[in-house]
Symmetry: D2
Subunit: 349 residues, 4 copies
Amino acid sequence: MSEQQDFLRQTVEHLDIKQVNVVPLIEMMGKTAFQARNLARAAEIFDEMVNDTDCGVILTLAGSMVSAGQREVILDLLRANAVDAIVSTGANIVDQDFFEALGYRHYQGDIFANDDQLRRLHIDRIYDTYINEDELRVTDDTTRVIADSLAPGAYSSREFIREMGRYLVENGLGEGSIVRTAYELDIPIFVPAFSDCSAGFGLVAHQVANPDAHVSIDSAKDFRELTELKVKHGKTGLFMLGGGVPKNFVQDVVVSAEFLGYEDIEMHAYAVQLTVADERDGALSGSTLKEANSWGKVSLAREQMVYGEMTVTFPLIAGYVWHKRNWEKRTPRRWAKLIDGKFPVKVAQ
Amino acid sequence: MSEQQDFLRQTVEHLDIKQVNVVPLIEMMGKTAFQARNLARAAEIFDEMVNDTDCGVILTLAGSMVSAGQREVILDLLRANAVDAIVSTGANIVDQDFFEALGYRHYQGDIFANDDQLRRLHIDRIYDTYINEDELRVTDDTTRVIADSLAPGAYSSREFIREMGRYLVENGLGEGSIVRTAYELDIPIFVPAFSDCSAGFGLVAHQVANPDAHVSIDSAKDFRELTELKVKHGKTGLFMLGGGVPKNFVQDVVVSAEFLGYEDIEMHAYAVQLTVADERDGALSGSTLKEANSWGKVSLAREQMVYGEMTVTFPLIAGYVWHKRNWEKRTPRRWAKLIDGKFPVKVAQ
Amino acid sequence: MSEQQDFLRQTVEHLDIKQVNVVPLIEMMGKTAFQARNLARAAEIFDEMVNDTDCGVILTLAGSMVSAGQREVILDLLRANAVDAIVSTGANIVDQDFFEALGYRHYQGDIFANDDQLRRLHIDRIYDTYINEDELRVTDDTTRVIADSLAPGAYSSREFIREMGRYLVENGLGEGSIVRTAYELDIPIFVPAFSDCSAGFGLVAHQVANPDAHVSIDSAKDFRELTELKVKHGKTGLFMLGGGVPKNFVQDVVVSAEFLGYEDIEMHAYAVQLTVADERDGALSGSTLKEANSWGKVSLAREQMVYGEMTVTFPLIAGYVWHKRNWEKRTPRRWAKLIDGKFPVKVAQ
Amino acid sequence: MSEQQDFLRQTVEHLDIKQVNVVPLIEMMGKTAFQARNLARAAEIFDEMVNDTDCGVILTLAGSMVSAGQREVILDLLRANAVDAIVSTGANIVDQDFFEALGYRHYQGDIFANDDQLRRLHIDRIYDTYINEDELRVTDDTTRVIADSLAPGAYSSREFIREMGRYLVENGLGEGSIVRTAYELDIPIFVPAFSDCSAGFGLVAHQVANPDAHVSIDSAKDFRELTELKVKHGKTGLFMLGGGVPKNFVQDVVVSAEFLGYEDIEMHAYAVQLTVADERDGALSGSTLKEANSWGKVSLAREQMVYGEMTVTFPLIAGYVWHKRNWEKRTPRRWAKLIDGKFPVKVAQ
């Protein structure tokens, strides 16, 4: 299929924040106005979270960040112990990161491409990026293989993704992927809408082939586990790339803990969101963090929205925090080991 | 808590599309330009879907449509048999529709409210709308009660929502709610990220209280069931309110069916999306339906994006279709009865 | 050039708000949320302006409203005496309305057209609309002819546009155009950036051909005349379609009057803006009307922004006001006759 | 007015692109996707313009860039001879740059401020920035003083702004302002809607006080002068910050030259626009540069839109070009001296 290869020539390369010290630039932005100032304030708040060694930091991922060359930025945060848990869409974790872990790449494409032609060539388009659809089918199928290898039962997405990490290690694959690195560092990854991605295809195929006893993905278990982390750990901060289910899910964990009867659950002490979404349609993705305060989810003290497309804003903010090096004080929190399904005795009862 | 009541005075009232015949207005819009023309074309395409009695129509819901007074618009489409299945966020179905079914209401609020004060008064804010948080906690708890009443095991969100409909009928509640009406008309409702809403709180409490044997929400099962509908029914059209997980989920079902080995699965023959999201950030919510064609999900022939906030665009489009009355040819499809977990023999093998 | 004609087949037709009574629809929208509620409140405020016979109503036009089929909506407001002055971009008034007054039309086009091909065919594109470039050159040239016919000197854009109206009447052209109707009703039209349109080409040609004595367009005179109206009339309200120079210009008139030493100049008592612009970039087009209050330009009491594309929101709001018929109390204000360059004695000195 | 001073404490400081070499960062962005890639491509195209010593570079300014700390970025481009002419809104040049040249400053403010209180304290707000309104009135009045000092007649905005530069030099003010630097470097500044800013107040006062013989601002003359530059110079490139009148004006100059009968006028050979505006409303500010090609204004070869708020994107792009140092080959073009109102003999006639 050589015509396909004509389109799949120029790979997306992951940006490396370590190469340019943007700290003086961000500090100057903090003295200006509009979104540059918001961006600088968000960078400071993220740095405060990291500098606050009591604070568990949760990163949320929406949009298409890995295919857009942001994988290494995320990895640098993981390796710096600047992130203790991830809540993501399936696209970033499975279709994009696990896909690259299997040895595949994303390609630079053209937003004016003829989509009908792309479809005939088995090329999937994400705005200006191309994916080899045949390679994506292999990814789907790998999730099926992993599901087939597990004992039947209800798994959280976190447990399943942990098995994906193990699969990579055992097969000598995916060095430098998010899934494998998180596995090795015991950083839990939650994908609350886990079927809504490449893994969904593999899991449906697994269940259809095994109608009586099979792997289920229990989204309530995901929420239970994240609530468990909140209850056991206490102080938390959020660094949110985009909105969607990950934003809502991670904010709701405060309410979930209260609903279980725990009193004095702290709201998220720090919260930053990068987005292009607008609050004026009333949807969650663009809703302000002040609005989240009315729900008792996010403290008003240290919160900042940054309006801008994330391939530009994320490396600037992450780069600021990386080059400030306050993360050097942190040690791996290994939250994946903290989850055992046992909730502590409630303080208040 | 009388101070709370000072804020909760003016209820949101659901808009009734039956009262104004907008057909001539939409027809005139079709002769103009920009989004008025796109809106008119989207209305025509939705009407074609409805007029095509072979076509199964799937409605997706994101954002906060029920709290924003759009419940009756959705209901009028259900009662007209113009919608055969719903894929939604949890917020619309549980926190908002089921909440109202229990007898509660949404209130008109103020975007400049002091969120810290609202929090202290147990008032949750969605942009310009208020919710009594104590009533929301009752809603959460009702989902716990329903979970407690079910046999342990893995349920699709659809199955659980069906039980919510049954609960309403059995308790004489929720006349005129989406959950109850869909239950009565056998219209399946899928919420692929089911824990990401009020039901999540109830389910976590249920699981914590029943650590050994409990209800799980299997998101793979949801995807399997929707795939089953696609395989069994064939021709489909999409009417998408917003993006998010529902948009992705329902589009992916074409690929899922192919991945199971079914050949000649039709792409969605018609597709309309209402959104304010922009394609330029590469995220799925704003991605064009032409891009979806590259993935083999949506046919290019009859697709239209409409850029506009949905409380304005949805009643206009739904009103056009309602007053065209082509839905009078349709009979209830009762897709909930079509789902039995058994996939037909593959044509191609 | 028959290939050109292949593209110029389907004319844009102007929408007629008189045909559908949207009052009940807008009233229902007012009981919902988000932009539907904002739209309804904006419609009410515009209706209050019209109902307040002391209030001079100024309409501002940005974007491309006339080419987009909104000319008749504007005309219905003019004929109803619901608008006492217009401040516009040149595109709406010259390139689009005067162009149509000369007998030309806009055509429905395709946003995916090959722009290079269009250029070769002398077709100009505005998003999904086509213009015959040769006809636009005739329009440019007609403004040159009008300039050539005038005595040399400095004219306000208002004075020049009045001459354009006279030209249409004298040549039996442009029945039902904005320029001619405003001329006949003595409604002044200001275009503060008058060279930034088709007229600019004609005026440059006029000046190049008449280097020593020619027509100038004095933008300070425009501002002086509008200030004169504000000083002489008093109470004013704004109905703003889009932002840009017209929004800024008309708001500034309050400050201009104060700067001349008039005390007790009222801020604009009512203000409505329709826009898709966002406040987060700090630019004027999306800046809130609350921000305008800090400048002393707009009263906070009755102001409303509506976020939505104007081909959808404008006919709904104008239709509401038209069908409420409060304009029947109004008589033509004939503001064009009020302008004589003489400012009244200052009250305070 | 000490309460006023409580709000006016933290000055906006102008960002200095010289301090951080962003070239490696931008190069990495060029290998990713979405807007980071567009930003990198735009930076490359701007660098090509600068590197092309035949190319006259025109910078357009909309929004509020100077108050937002971007003055020094613009100045560094002027001093590097990377910009040969400026087309701007009045706000940037008069209300903000000339204002600072008179010794005043902008202050960091709060978007949630009480605008009514600000108004009473004579503080004007631009999103998150404050201005002392009394200082702004001095600025207005200074333009009146300058107008009073000139011989009556019709001036282009460029001529008037040149007088503002002269005023600064003669009064020993405004070292490091755009107006003064451009004056000293003979870089023409055009403000096509010149009354739509602080200068408008001064000019109206000047005309009211001198009803018979006064300074006029002839916007047609501006357009004529810019057309003259295009005709005399030939190859041009555009670097556009935002849209609005400056974008339209500078693009139209190609058509204007053709309309005068010059044949073989080159379209703008390079064009970059930074904006948050969206094309879907059909307005000029967000219209694509491909659309501009249909009008024969912009070549398709080297054009790029960058979607993002400009306080973030502008310093990155300008910093890239500055640190690439291709501007070292350029010498001052001193276009202000090229304008004499005499058009060359037409080639084709």
